[in-house]
């Protein structure tokens, strides 16, 4: 039979002899033991100390009543335990992440099912209610009888989330370990989805989630998050962890994050990062945010223009290249100056012996690092570009701007 947490809160409890013991004020789950079994019931007795009934001391459960299979004397006195998940305090009215629906939702009620074992009844948490039926129960509980409430809620549309898809949010890292809350399920979500969900949480909860994700996922999420939130989170992270996350980010994204931080904090984080990455990020930070240099990414693929198509392919296979950056290849002349670009699509169709210089995209386009972002947008629009090369004063390529950089800039404007 199904029973709701609301119907159990305040339930009158009787012992095996039929004596009244107290009322259920709270019940707990012990995640270290079983992830979904109600393990303990807290029974309050007015001015006396509250008692604790274990799951194997419960004989029968019905809406509004709990019957024990033992006598009152066998019950222990209640002492708080951090490793228990309190249904009323930690779950009801709190926000959780629905990992299947990829949403942050608020818990209205918790659904339980009865499971009879030898001599006792166990309650298993099956799903959380985030819809109207739960709201109606919460509102009317104790005002009208449970039978009437059940009748009223039946025609309402259900919105529930199965317990295995529920991801609890606990900002306190110690408690998170004790409650065995992991964020593995969150790591499987798309970073953009996770970032969107995090915007609905409190500052402490966001912090907790980022701190517990692996660096790679954390970096991907931070890159997708609203930049105001990103800088708030990075600032409060442990500097070592923050530096590790920044290292995982693309240099341009890392530079954007660091640029939003107070000077001392960003310096401290740059110190923590490995030398060459730090200097790359520093170089990017020198550019104003609204210039070509402020938009560009410094990870790009470049080859000499005299090399043959097959040589280039051979070389690329041996390198560990970031596939995202492999849309267009930058060409250098013999002075190591920027001399053009070749799209990978053209490379695919070319003859093995063809020289790179013959495959160049016309016209030759490049912008200096201090060009205004509006000029960049115009070039992308006019020539239908997917990528644009940024050069320094000597005409050497220093980075590339891809169309996704342009899109996110335009959306932000």
């Amino acid at each position: 039979m199904q029973i709701y947490a609301t119907e159990l809160m305040g339930a009158e409890t009787y012992d095996a002899l039929g004596h009244f013991v107290g009322r259920v004020r709270e019940f707990f789950i012990e995640p270290a033991d079983q992830p979904n079994r109600v393990s303990h019931f807290l029974l309050s007795r007015g001015r006396f100390q509250p008692l604790l009934a274990r799951y194997n001391q419960v004989g029968a459960v019905a809406p509004g009543t709990l019957r024990l299979n033992c006598s009152e004397r066998e019950l222990a006195l209640y002492t708080p335990n951090e490793a228990w998940l309190a249904v009323r305090k930690d779950l009801l009215d709190q926000q959780i992440i629905d990992t299947q629906g990829r949403k942050v939702v608020r818990v209205n009620d918790v659904d339980l099912t009865e499971q009879k074992t030898n001599g006792n009844v166990e309650l298993r948490l099956t799903q959380v209610d985030v819809g109207l039926p739960g709201a109606v129960r919460r509102l009317l509980q104790g005002v009208v009888g449970p039978g009437l409430i059940r009748k009223l809620q039946n025609p309402l549309p259900q919105r529930t989330i199965r317990w295995e898809f529920v991801n609890l949010i606990e900002p306190d890292p110690l408690r998170r370990v004790k409650l065995r809350i992991t964020h593995e399920k969150l790591e499987d979500l798309h970073p953009a989805d996770l970032a969107e969900m995090m915007e609905e949480l409190s500052a402490a909860e966001r912090q907790g989630i980022i701190a517990s994700l692996d660096e790679e996922t954390a970096a991907a999420v931070l890159a997708e998050l609203d930049e105001r939130l990103t800088s708030q989170i990075v600032e409060k992270l442990d500097p070592e962890k923050a530096a590790d996350i920044l290292e995982e980010m693309a240099p341009d994204a890392a530079a954007d994050v660091l640029a939003d931080l107070p000077k001392e904090t960003s310096e401290e984080l740059l110190e923590e990062m490995p030398g060459h990455e730090a200097s790359e990020v520093r170089g990017l930070m020198a550019f104003d945010e609204s210039t070509a240099g402020g938009m560009m990414n410094t990870e790009f693929v470049f080859v000499g223009e005299t090399s043959a198509r097959d040589e280039v392919l051979q070389w690329m296979r041996t390198q560990e290249l970031n596939v995202d950056q492999l849309d267009t290849i930058v060409l250098l002349d013999t002075d190591a100056k920027f001399s053009g670009t070749v799209s990978v699509a053209r490379l695919l169709l070319a003859d093995p012996e063809q020289r790179m210089s013959e495959l160049k995209t016309e016209p030759l386009l490049g912008v200096p690092g201090d060009a205004d972002e509006r000029d960049v947008f115009e070039l992308f629009d006019k020539y239908n570009l997917r990528m644009l090369t940024v050069t320094n004063r000597e005409g050497r390529p220093i980075g590339t701007i891809t169309v996704d950089d342009v899109v996110s800039r335009l959306v932000k404007r």
């Binding site: 009801l92 009215d93 709190q94 926000q95 939702v105 608020r106 209205n108 985030v130 709201a135 919460r138 509102l139 915007e199 949480l201 409190s202 500052a203 402490a204 966001r206 609203d226 105001r228 939130l229 800088s231 708030q232 600032e235 107070p262």
Partner: protein, 438 residues
């Protein structure tokens, strides 16, 4: 003069220059920081001067001249203290007020706060549209044209705009309140006398005077504004690092709100009170009476101010209410969402506007009674909300080091208790004596 001393001098001049540059850069940096945060506090406090509020200020000036001006300073403090707590909660926890009430006090208290809020706010929305109707009548536009047009404008503005665009429009509306400054100057008041009355308290123990004083406080600190303020800071993603700027925003907002009140009272005191037009019942009537006294310009500016205030509040109130209810019940909310993502939010918003404007359009609408109901409702709801705020803002597990200091608690509780007493007395007089206070 030797070479060395010249170079030292040059260096000194250079370093002075760079010092100045540095200081200038620092100032500019601080200004950008402030501008990134400013908005919620300024908008919330100014929207407080809504149709009902302006009516009360007008009456206060017309009936008692400058005699009530002294109350503006303590009111500014009370407004700042209460708003600052909400701003702080929004900035530190990153959650809205109804979210926090729900998480810390459970479903039922939240539900009742929301249901009460809905009806009180609905009455307020009606009052705003009544303000639109009254001010447009001065411009010779029938309410059957003005009110539907205003409702449509408000609806489109918020539904089709992004948070940033809407905020810019709202900030612009704040600037339009300056029309009261101009009409005050056109009224040629005795500034010295006004200044003296602002600083020196003048408490009279006459019932009419006291009721007017309560009316002033009751309309200036409205309960729904706390929800709106906190939600705006959350939606703007202002974090703990920008707390100082947020606080400055709230301070600027509360002070500017009171400055406008000052000019409204001064304007009506210098004209209506001085010439004996002391029994004005609403702002539109005051605007009409101003025309022969201070010239057509002053009257028009006054009416324009009322129109602006009513429209402004009419766009924010339904929005804030829809926010509160959705947050509390766990529905998606916020104007950054699309209609499909947050249907209940947008439906509530639409209902508030359609019903609010619709009531004003009824041929024999009891507008005066609704206005009283909205004030009494505000009065009863306010203490409840302030107590929730005080309980939450003192929770160390939520606020960490940002819990209230003792001084702040004392000021806030005194404010809360004073507001409770005043609201109850105001409600009592409004119900049992039927004194029109707004």
């Amino acid at each position: 003069m030797n070479w060395e001393s010249i170079t030292t001098q040059v260096d000194a001049v250079k370093s002075r220059g760079s010092d100045l540059q540095k200081r200038l850069r620092g100032l500019r940096h601080r200004l950008t920081l402030l501008l990134a945060v400013i908005g919620p506090g300024l908008i919330t406090s100014n929207v407080d001067n809504d149709a009902g509020g302006i009516s009360v200020y007008t009456q206060a000036g017309a009936k008692y001249g400058y005699a009530l001006l002294w109350s503006l300073i303590p009111m500014t403090i009370a407004l700042y203290v209460t708003e600052e707590m909400c701003a702080r909660m929004g900035v530190i926890t990153g959650k809205g007020l109804s979210d926090l009430i729900r998480e810390e006090f459970g479903f039922r208290p939240t539900f009742f706060v929301m249901v009460t809020g809905f009806f009180v706010d609905l009455a307020n929305v009606v009052a705003e549209f009544a303000g639109v109707a009254a001010s447009m009548q001065i411009f010779g536009v029938s309410k059957y044209i003005a009110v539907p047009l205003a409702a449509a404008l408000v609806w489109v503005l918020v539904l089709k705009g992004t948070y940033r665009q809407v905020e810019v429009i709202f900030l612009f509306a704040c600037v339009l309140y300056l029309s009261y400054l101009f009409s005050a100057f056109l009224a040629k008041p005795d500034w010295l006398d006004a200044a003296r009355h602002t600083i020196i308290p003048n408490l009279r123990f006459e019932s009419g005077y006291l009721v007017m004083l309560m009316g002033l406080i009751g309309t200036t600190i409205a309960p729904w504004q706390f929800f709106y303020l906190q939600a705006s800071f959350v939606e703007k993603k202002v974090g703990a690092r920008q707390y100082r700027q947020a606080r400055a925003d709230v301070l600027v907002g509360s002070v500017s709100c009171m400055v406008i009140v000052f000019f409204i009272i001064v304007c009506t005191a210098a004209t209506l009170y001085a010439s004996g037009h002391r029994d004005i019942t609403d702002a539109a009537q005051a605007a009409q009476a101003l025309i022969p006294l201070a010239g057509r310009g002053a009257g028009i500016l006054f009416a324009f101010g009322l129109l602006n205030a009513s429209l402004f509040a009419a766009s924010i109130l339904p929005l804030s209410t829809a926010h509160v209810i959705c947050e509390g019940l766990g529905f998606e909310a916020g104007i950054d969402h699309k209609f499909k993502e947050a249907p209940i939010f947008y439906w509530l918003y639409t209902i508030l506007i359609v019903v609010g404007a619709g009531i004003v359009l009824l041929p024999h609408a009891p507008l005066w009674k609704i206005l009283i109901f909205s004030q009494v409702g505000n009065g009863f709801w306010l203490p409840v909300v302030v107590i929730f705020i005080l309980l939450l803002v003192n929770r160390r597990d939520l606020m960490g080091e940002y819990v209230n200091t003792l001084t702040f608690n004392v000021v806030a509780w005194v404010t809360a208790i004073a507001m409770i007493i005043l609201s109850l007395v105001l409600a009592y007089t409004a119900v049992f004596q039927g004194t029109p206070t707004g």
